[in-house]
C-alpha cells in the first residue's frame, strides 16, 4: 500500500513539474519583460565580424543607459532564427543583422520596423538605397561591401604588362599572357560553387560588362546574362581558373589573390585591408585595388553587397533598439568599428577620412569605386530573392562543371525567375 501511494505521489509530482514547466514560460517572459523595461536591456543578433568592442558597448551604455546583450550567431543561421521566431510572432532579438539579400523578403513578411534617417545621413550613405523600400528605411548599413577589382602588379609586370586593365578584353589578354609565361597556373579566380557567392558574381559580371542584369519587370536580361555566363565559361574552359574553385567557398576563391596564386579578381572591399596584412597575405605590396573593368573602358557602376542592422517589428524595446542602430551606424562608431573589425564604413565621408589619414592603407580605387555604387535591381531586392538565387547559382555551377552550356544555364534560371516574377 505504501509503495503504491509513493508511486502515485511521484507520478503526481512529475506531472505537476511538467505542467508547471510548460506554464512557467509566460511568467518568466513577463518577469524578463519587466526587468528589460526597467534597465532598458536590448539584444543584438549579428555575426562575429559585426560585434563592437567591449569598450564601445560600455560607452554606449554609459551614454544611454541601455544595456546591450550581444547574441553572436553565424551569418547563415541569423535568417533562420529570425524567420522561425517571427513565424511565431516573436523577436529573435531586438536588433538584427539584415543582409542586402534578405531585405526584400523581410519587408514582404513585415518583420522590420521603419527607421527614421535625416536627409544628410541618407546622402552620405549610398548603400542605404538597398535597404529603402517605398521610401521607408528598413535597416541601416554598417559594412560597406561592394565589388572592386584587384590585380597583382608583379604578375602583370612579369608578363610584360605595365598598365592596370580597364576592360574585360584587357583582363582576358593579361590572363593569357600570365598563364603562357608560367607565372601562375590559374591567374583568375571567381566564386562558382553552388552558393550565394556564385549568384552575386554573375550579377556583377553582367552589371560591369553590360550595365544591367534584370529587366524592368524583374526578369533576367538575356543579352547581359548570357554574355556574362559565356565569358565566365570561357575562362573556365580555357583553364584560367583552378578546377577546385568549382566546389570551393567564396572566401577560398578570393584568398587565392592574397596567397599569390591568382593574378586578377573582382571581390569584396575587405581585401583592401587583407592584402596589406602580413598575417593574411603572402604578397603584401603587390596587390592593387582598381576600378571594375567594363566593355569599352572601366565600368561606370558597381554592385553593392552591404550588411545592415534593423529593428524587428516584434521587439518590445523598439525605441532603445532604434537608438542602438543610430549609434552603431554613426560616423564615430564607424571609425571605431573599422579599428575593431576592419568594417569598411558605409558613410562616404568617414571612408574618405580613413583613406586620407592613412588608416586604410593602399586603398587604390576604393573611394572612386564607392561613388559608382548602384543597385542592379530596378524594383529593389525582390521578396523571392533566395529562391531566385538558388536557381541561378545551381545553374551556374552546372555550367562550369560542364553539364550545360551558357545558353542552357540561362534558359533554366530564366524559367524559374520568370515563374517567380509572375507569381
Amino acid at each position: 500500500m505504501k509503495k503504491r501511494l509513493l508511486s502515485i505521489l511521484l507520478c503526481a509530482a512529475l506531472t505537476g513539474i511538467l505542467v508547471a514547466g510548460c506554464g512557467a514560460k509566460k511568467n518568466d517572459d513577463t518577469n524578463k519583460e519587466d526587468k528589460t523595461t526597467e534597465t532598458k536591456e536590448i539584444t543584438v543578433m549579428v555575426p562575429d565580424w559585426a560585434v563592437p568592442s567591449d569598450d564601445m558597448l560600455a560607452d554606449f551604455t554609459e551614454d544611454t543607459g541601455i544595456e546591450v546583450v550581444m547574441n553572436v550567431v553565424g551569418w547563415d543561421d541569423i535568417r533562420d532564427k529570425v524567420a522561425i521566431a517571427a513565424s511565431g510572432g516573436a523577436a529573435a532579438a531586438d536588433v538584427i543583422e539584415v543582409d542586402w539579400s534578405w531585405v526584400g523578403e523581410m519587408n514582404s513578411a513585415g518583420w522590420l520596423e521603419e527607421i527614421e534617417m535625416s536627409d544628410e545621413d541618407k546622402a552620405d550613405m549610398p548603400t542605404l538605397e538597398t535597404f529603402t523600400i517605398d521610401g521607408k528605411v528598413l535597416a541601416v548599413p554598417y559594412a560597406n561591401d561592394y565589388r572592386i577589382a584587384y590585380y597583382n602588379k608583379e604578375h602583370f609586370k612579369a608578363a610584360g604588362i605595365e598598365k592596370a586593365p580597364e576592360t574585360w578584353d584587357e583582363v582576358y589578354d593579361a590572363l593569357k599572357k600570365i598563364k603562357e609565361a608560367g607565372i601562375v597556373e590559374y591567374p583568375y579566380t571567381m566564386p562558382m560553387n553552388a552558393d550565394e557567392s556564385a549568384t552575386t558574381s554573375m550579377m556583377w559580371m553582367a552589371f560591369s560588362r553590360s550595365g544591367q542584369v534584370f529587366n524592368e519587370d524583374g526578369t533576367l536580361n538575356e543579352e547581359a546574362v548570357v554574355d556574362a555566363l559565356e565569358f565566365e565559361k570561357k575562362l573556365v574552359d580555357e583553364g584560367y581558373t583552378d578546377p577546385a574553385i568549382k566546389t570551393a567557398s567564396g572566401m577560398d576563391c578570393y584568398r587565392k589573390i592574397t596567397a599569390g596564386e591568382a593574378s586578377f579578381m573582382v571581390g569584396p572591399t575587405k581585401f583592401v585591408g587583407l592584402s596589406n596584412n602580413k598575417e593574411e597575405c603572402s604578397v603584401v605590396g603587390q596587390i592593387e585595388a582598381i576600378l571594375l573593368p567594363g566593355k569599352e573602358g572601366t565600368s561606370d557602376k558597381t554592385m553593392p553587397l552591404p550588411e545592415a542592422v534593423g529593428v524587428t517589428k516584434f521587439s518590445k524595446n523598439k525605441e532603445a533598439a532604434k537608438e542602438f542602430v543610430k549609434w552603431y551606424t554613426s560616423a564615430d562608431t564607424q571609425k571605431d568599428l573599422f579599428k575593431a573589425n576592419s568594417s569598411i564604413p558605409t558613410r562616404n565621408e568617414v571612408l574618405a577620412e580613413l583613406i586620407e589619414d592613412g588608416t586604410i592603407e593602399n586603398a587604390g580605387a576604393m573611394l572612386d569605386e564607392a561613388k559608382l555604387i548602384k543597385s542592379p535591381f530596378p524594383q529593389g531586392i525582390p521578396a523571392y530573392y533566395s529562391e531566385m538565387s538558388n536557381a541561378i547559382y545551381n545553374n551556374i555551377n552546372k555550367m562550369v562543371l560542364g553539364e550545360v552550356s551558357a545558353q542552357e544555364a540561362f534558359d533554366a534560371m530564366n524559367k524559374k525567375v520568370t515563374e517567380l516574377t509572375s507569381e
Binding site: 503504491r4 508511486s7 507520478c11 524567420a83 553552388a194 577546385a244 566546389t247 521578396a383 545551381n394 552546372k398
Partner: protein, 294 residues
C-alpha cells in the same frame, strides 16, 4: 473487493502513464498534427496576407516537381549504398570483435568512436579528406600513382553521393557492428560444440548456425542504417552545401521551408519524408519483435 482492487490498479496505470503521455502529446503528436495542418495551407512567410486552406495542393505541387524526384532519386541512391556498406562492414567488424584477444577492449573503443562523433563534425573531417585541392585522399592517390591529377570528388552527382554515403556509413557501422556483436555473443556455445563434434567446417558453422541466428540482429542494423540514410543532412551540408547536385529530400525540405520560407509546401515535404521513415520504422519494430530460436 476484487473489482475495487482492479479499478485502483487501472487508475495507478493511468497515473503512471500520464507523464509520458503528456510529453508525447506536447512534443510528438501536437507537432505532427500542426505540421499536417500547415501542409494543407498556403503559407509563405513572405506573403502573410495570402494564406488559406488549399487542401492537397501542396502535396500535388511537391509530387509533380522535378526537384522533388531528383532529390528522391538521390535519397534512394544514398539509402542503397549506406545500407550495403553498413551491413557488410558492420557484420565484418562484429565478427572481428567477437574474437577474444587482449586488444578486444581497445578495438571495441576504436570501432565505436565514429558513432560518437556529431554528424556535422564527421562531415567537416571528411570534407578535408576529399577536398579537391589539398585533400588527403587525392594526395594518397597521387602518391600511389592511381591518378596524376586531383579528382574533383564533389563535382559529379554520383561521385559526390558515394562520398556522402561513405561518410554516413562510417558513422553507422559501429551501431550495426555492436548490434550484430550482441547477436553473436547471444548464440549458445553448445551449438558450436555440437557442430564441432558432428565435424562441421568453419563455413558450415557460419552458414547453418551463425548466419541464421544473427539475422534478426542484422535486420535491426539494416533498419537503423536505412533511417540514418533517409535523414542525412549535416554531412551533405558540410560536404557540398545546399547545392542541387547532392541534395536529398531533407535538404529539399529545409530549403523549401527555411530558405524559401514556404511553410505550406515545406510541411507537405516533411510529411512525405515522415511517411518514408515510418515505413522503415515499421520494419525496424518488426525486427525487434522477432524471436530467435536456438
Amino acid at each position: 473487493m476484487v473489482h475495487m482492487k482492479k479499478r485502483s490498479e487501472g487508475a495507478l496505470g493511468i497515473a503512471l502513464l500520464l507523464p509520458i503521455i503528456t510529453i508525447m502529446v506536447i512534443l510528438v503528436y501536437y507537432p505532427i498534427i500542426k505540421t499536417f495542418s500547415y501542409s494543407m495551407q498556403k503559407m509563405k512567410l513572405t506573403a502573410p496576407q495570402d494564406t488559406g486552406f488549399v487542401g492537397w495542393a501542396n502535396y500535388r505541387s511537391v509530387l509533380t516537381s522535378d526537384s522533388f524526384w531528383y532529390s528522391f532519386q538521390n535519397t534512394m541512391f544514398l539509402l542503397a549504398v549506406v545500407v550495403v556498406l553498413t551491413t557488410v562492414f558492420g557484420v565484418c567488424v562484429a565478427l572481428m570483435l567477437n574474437v577474444d584477444t587482449k586488444l578486444s577492449g581497445v578495438l571495441m573503443a576504436a570501432a565505436v568512436l565514429p558513432w560518437a562523433l556529431p554528424p556535422v563534425v564527421n562531415g567537416i573531417i571528411w570534407r578535408f579528406i576529399f577536398h579537391p585541392g589539398y585533400g588527403f585522399m587525392n594526395k594518397l592517390l597521387i602518391v600511389f600513382g592511381v591518378t596524376d591529377k586531383p579528382i574533383e570528388w564533389m563535382s559529379s552527382r554520383f561521385l559526390l553521393l558515394f562520398v556522402v554515403a561513405l561518410v554516413v556509413a562510417w558513422r553507422s557501422i559501429p551501431f550495426s557492428a555492436i548490434v550484430c556483436l550482441s547477436g553473436l555473443r547471444a548464440i549458445p556455445q553448445e551449438l558450436y560444440e555440437a557442430a564441432k563434434i558432428d565435424g562441421a567446417g568453419r563455413w558450415t558453422v557460419f552458414r547453418y548456425i551463425t548466419a541464421p541466428l544473427v539475422r534478426p540482429f542484422v535486420g535491426i542494423g539494416i533498419t537503423a542504417a536505412s533511417i540514418s540514410a533517409v535523414n542525412i543532412f549535416d554531412e551533405i551540408v558540410a560536404l557540398s552545401g545546399y547545392s542541387d547536385l547532392g541534395k536529398n529530400l531533407l535538404i529539399e525540405s529545409y530549403l523549401t521551408t527555411f530558405s524559401f520560407l514556404d511553410f505550406g509546401k515545406g510541411s507537405a515535404l516533411t510529411y512525405i519524408i515522415m511517411l518514408i521513415s515510418a515505413v522503415l520504422g515499421f520494419f525496424y519494430l518488426r525486427s525487434l519483435g522477432k524471436e530467435v530460436e536456438y
